[in-house]
Symmetry: C2
Subunit: 325 residues, 2 copies
């Protein structure tokens, strides 16, 4: 197991600046931090900052103070540290371990909806054990991005009080290999985010509406079904909301779209201070807008640069798109 | 070639009752009339009345006087004649030819989104040449359901005046084998309905938003992209509307969903007397509601039985589903 230290005490080449006073973030996000190599039919990019926590934190930071919990290796580049820092992400929960950063290589096909993983090197992520800085344990919003359910449970156990919103993501791997732990996670969250094939696998129901309702019976108040280019669904006991997708003409790199969506949702949920379905739905619309920006370029950098008025423009196009007439 | 006669003069076993006076229908629909054998993972049904014109006409009849143009064989069962008659469909354009009715056998897989054709017997449909009764030639709305583009052109040429709305459907077969004739059809219609794989094949664009805009440059004012369980898109030069799907929990037989959608749309367009995008979009919402009813049972029979208040209930659920919050 690589030795682990919190980055603020770390002596590796690119440590974040020490934060003056540990403050409780509005949103805490736990997940992977990676360097991605992305192949599309038209382009190839290596060492793009990625991972679920990276996208989600940068997205959430558009609306709220966000703390990241993850691990990087000594090779995590200065530019990537700076990206997170410029986004305003609190880095006191980002561990820096000796070894290499988690690396993922994936390839997209022409319609950009299908991808395959060419290579995965877990590296320092293999022995990652998320430890929350004390200030994080009272965060009002917690997003458990896609990591092993056992680790998601370990994070939940560290919280000093039940957050107002706990949202968890997962993936097909955990549904197949860690179902009992995943079921424990699902019992303890307010919102589970899943894509359509995941919700089918999790429940054994081919019908997505039926599958979503079955997940509700496992514990969460809402299920958020991610449908890629079709947008998403927010499903609750008496709630059925369709969130349309923004019509992106040229998707350049879909990596991180789901994490950007979830991160934007968390940020907007924090900003609105809402508790109910309406707040969740509006937050999902905001997450959708941010995800539409993310896919227009490689990596999460565009999420920092995009001006607020462009986000507003897209939201108004999106709202108009579902007009009855 | 089988001998062809208009059914009102026909001496075959199950002729429709002669209509007292030939009236111009609000909507004329040209397409296939079939007897389907449908296999799902749970059920199998033989000789179900089907075909694009059958579904579309019964759907349109919920809102407007509709005339069907098609061909059946001598074996077309009395129950199927009666179904069309009870729906109020004008049958003066339904030819009855000596021989057997067009038959299609298809199989659906567990998620009901994929199907494969097991058998096609064209029978009398092979030599079908649509001839419009004189009264039909001034119809204000014309739907060219999925038949060979050459036949769609032949119908267009028979119209005594340009209808207010011409809507055409097509399929992958014609995109591959009859592209020049199809391009002529596309130039002459107001609305082209296509599904996502068709719009990609037609344009060579993997991105659906881009592909839809490319179709607009071929002539039509609107493209209506059918997205199955995700609903549909109405795309015009300055129009982008998402029509969500109604959340059907148990799809029993998806056959004819697209034709029901288009037929419902035509009927509502006729009823509203609208000309612009708003009328088309509202008509698409109505078509969506009708399609959600059709897929809950085999064949189009449920479209006749479903009470008006159930259609209203579904429309209000659908409208609520896209609420922002």
């Amino acid at each position: 197991m690589p030795s682990v230290s919190f980055s603020k005490n770390s002596s590796v080449p690119n440590p974040p600046a020490p934060t003056a006073k540990p403050a409780t973030p509005d949103v805490v996000i736990v997940g992977s931090v990676a360097l991605d190599t992305i192949v599309t039919p038209w382009e190839r990019r290596a060492d793009v900052p990625g991972g679920s926590a990276t996208y989600a934190c940068i997205a959430a930071s558009r609306r709220a103070r966000t703390g990241i919990v993850g691990v990087v290796g000594e090779d995590f580049p200065r530019a990537a540290w700076n990206l997170l820092r410029r986004a305003g992400v609190d880095l006191s929960g980002l561990q820096c371990a000796s070894g290499r950063t988690f690396r993922w290589t994936g390839e997209y096909f022409a319609d950009m909806n299908q991808r395959r993983t060419l290579q995965t090197e877990l590296n320092v992520f293999e022995d990652f054990r998320p430890e929350l800085p004390p200030a994080y344990r009272r965060a009002p919003l917690l997003f458990l991005a896609n990591i092993a359910p056992e680790l998601q449970l370990h994070v939940l156990d560290q919280m000093a009080q039940r957050p107002r919103w706990v949202v968890a993501d997962t993936m097909d791997l955990w549904i197949r290999t860690a179902r009992p732990a995943l079921r424990k996670v699902i019992r303890r969250v307010d919102v589970l985010t899943v894509n359509e094939s995941e919700v089918r696998d999790l429940t054994g129901c081919a019908s997505v509406p039926e599958a979503a309702r079955k997940v509700l019976r496992m514990g969460p108040t809402y299920v958020l079904v991610k449908r890629g280019e079709y947008g998403s669904l927010v499903v609750g006991r008496d709630v059925w909301r369709v969130v349309p997708a923004f019509p992106v003409e040229r998707v350049r790199d879909p990596t991180g779209a789901g994490d950007t969506f979830a991160g934007g949702l968390m940020g907007e949920l924090a900003r609105s201070r809402g508790n109910g379905a309406a707040a969740l739905v509006r937050a999902a619309w905001f997450g959708t807008v941010l995800a539409s920006v993310a896919v227009e370029d490689f990596g999460p950098a565009r999420l920092l640069r995009v001006p607020e008025r462009e986000l507003e423009r897209r939201l108004s196009i999106l709202r108009e798109s579902v007009r009855y007439g």
